[in-house]
Amino acid sequence: MAENLLELSGVHTHIAQYHILQGVEFAVPRGELTMLLGRNGAGKTTTLRTILGLWRASAGTIRFESADITQRETPDIANLGIAYVPESMGIFAGLTVQENLVLAARNGAPAGERLERIFRFFPPIKTFWHLPAGLLSGGQKQMLAISRAIVEPRKLILIDEPTKGLAPAIINNLIEAFAELKQTDTTILMVEQNFHAARSLGDSVAVMDSGRIVHTGRMAELAANEALQTKLLGLSLETHQ
């Protein structure tokens, strides 16, 4: 069993008067891709944002490499080696593709093997290198958002619904890229509604409902257990393909 890179213990998050996370408990093993699943409104995005400090946990503990990061500022947390790809992708539309990657590369201009790998994963990044990112298509913007996250070595990448709203061909392209990324020992925590992608990529899984974790385990076990899928998610994975 791999050691845990990230651990959440009894995490509560309030947004205004709403109590969104209600004691979230799960761990992300180092070197694995952990899927965070759940119905809409279960608290998946809030969990990612709370880990990164974009929303402050009101109770509980978040540990990264055993260090308590619960009350740290977002830039400090990011500088521990955590990258974030939000659901909205968060690209800077007025900046070029190149400028987006220059900002993401904290330790110097993007270059070398990593940049070549990005170009190999996502050829449009090279094609539109000098184009304002706002002019890219939805799929290309997602490629850019993911490229920013992997332009430098990261210990953990938080990704929120990378396949949302994308065409099947682009989703397959992303799945291939993530599959190759997994070979590099990068730890990933991914929120995903596309269960084909979730089943293809996930090593471990945590399922959320109403602000709590209601199941943790191996993705393969959940994928093989239709009754459990129906119980936890309302529908089976097959139905969602």
Binding site: L52, L54, E73, T74, P75, A78, N79, Y84, P86, S88, M89, G90, I91, F92, A93, G94, L95, T96, Q98, E99, V102, L103, A104, R106, F128, H130, L131, P132, G134, L135, R148
Partner: protein, 330 residues
């Protein structure tokens, strides 16, 4: 970094500027009068740009409505009064270099003190009210009132004359055209400031961070950058530029009152709204448009001059509701 290929300049706002100029020429009839008014409009526009550029970045980057921005303009103007008095011998000399030796310290003092005041203002007044627009309006307006009273304490309530040094007075006479020297200098300084800002924003990493922060500050923080430090830097630089603008505007008017900054606030808000909140290019185009329209309308129809810029804002927003060069917010 290589130039941005494929990124096309939106020419429509610049074409609008040209169209306003051509229409004014047709209505005015006299080319020499038109040139004089155009130079005056460009000078006024570029001085407004210097004063308003910090305001638009502060709003774009941190969503802060700073109704006290005029304070830095007033401080800059009063610092120019005091510094030129201090260097009165050089200012009154009949030599361009001697005059420059008086004007440069005045501009530097205006920028330095306004910048320091901006740093203090951000820490004490702005920081407690981040994200609270109503409180920002109230507390910055209150800060402006307090500061104006402090100016009364230091400089007195009376109008302060601010005579330009000898070599900045007068006009170049070309044919039947009279072009004021100081307006040309104001145009030159405004263009240098604009070019410097464009270089900073487009060719440096700090500039990239500012542009990215204006679009999506949360994402900039999620990448590991401390946007708060960046904001303090922008606030201080914007305050210093307002101070410089105040010194230049005071010399333009040749007198200073405590309301010199407050009087510019309406024009500055019109400029940054017309330009697109947070956009330096938009602020530049908007300021030129406001300066030109104010001068042309002031000549052609003095009775409507007062409301011409409000009408201009309405027309521009009907055409482009997000401003001439809107900033993408993601």
């Amino acid at each position: 970094m290589k130039p941005i290929e494929g990124q096309r300049l939106d020419w429509a706002p610049l074409a609008l500027l040209a169209a306003v100029g051509v229409a004014a020429l047709a209505l005015i009839g006299s080319p020499s009068t038109w040139v004089t008014l155009t130079i005056a409009g460009l000078a006024m526009g570029l001085l407004i740009f210097i004063m308003a550029s910090g305001l638009t970045l502060v709003f774009g980057l941190m969503d802060v409505m700073n109704f006290a921005h005029g304070l830095f303009i007033a401080i800059g103007a009063y610092l120019a009064v005091s510094t030129l008095r201090l260097f009165s011998a050089a200012a009154g000399a009949d030599s361009f270099l001697a005059n420059l030796a008086a004007v440069m310290p005045a501009m530097l003092a205006a920028m330095l003190v306004a910048g320091l005041l901006g740093w203090f203002f951000e820490r004490v007044i702005i920081r407690p009210v981040y994200g609270q627009h109503l409180k920002q309006i109230l507390i910055t307006t209150g800060g402006m009132i307090v500061a104006e009273q402090l100016i009364h304490v230091f400089w007195g309530p009376d109008l302060q004359p601010l005579a330009r040094p000898a070599s900045l007075r007068g006009a170049f006479i070309i044919g039947d055209m009279a072009i004021e020297k100081y307006r040309l200098i104001a145009v030159a300084i405004g263009l240098v400031v604009f070019a410097g800002m464009m270089l900073l924003l487009n060719r440096t990493k700090i500039g990239l961070l500012i542009r990215a922060g204006v679009e999506n500050k949360e994402m900039v923080e999620a990448m590991g950058y401390r946007i708060r430090r960046l904001f303090v830097g922008v606030f201080v630089a914007g305050s210093a530029l307002a101070g410089l603008g105040g010194a230049l505007w005071g010399m333009y008017q040749e007198s200073v009152t405590v309301h010199i900054g407050a009087n510019m606030m309406v024009l500055m808000f019109i400029v940054i709204i017309i330009g697109g909140l947070g956009s330096i290019g938009g602020c530049f185009a908007g300021a030129l448009l406001v300066g030109l329209v104010a001068n042309y309308v002031g000549y052609l129809a003095p009775k409507v001059a007062l409301g011409s810029n409000i009408l201009l804002m309405v027309l521009v927003l009907l055409w482009r509701p997000q401003g001439l060069y809107p900033v993408s917010k993601t």
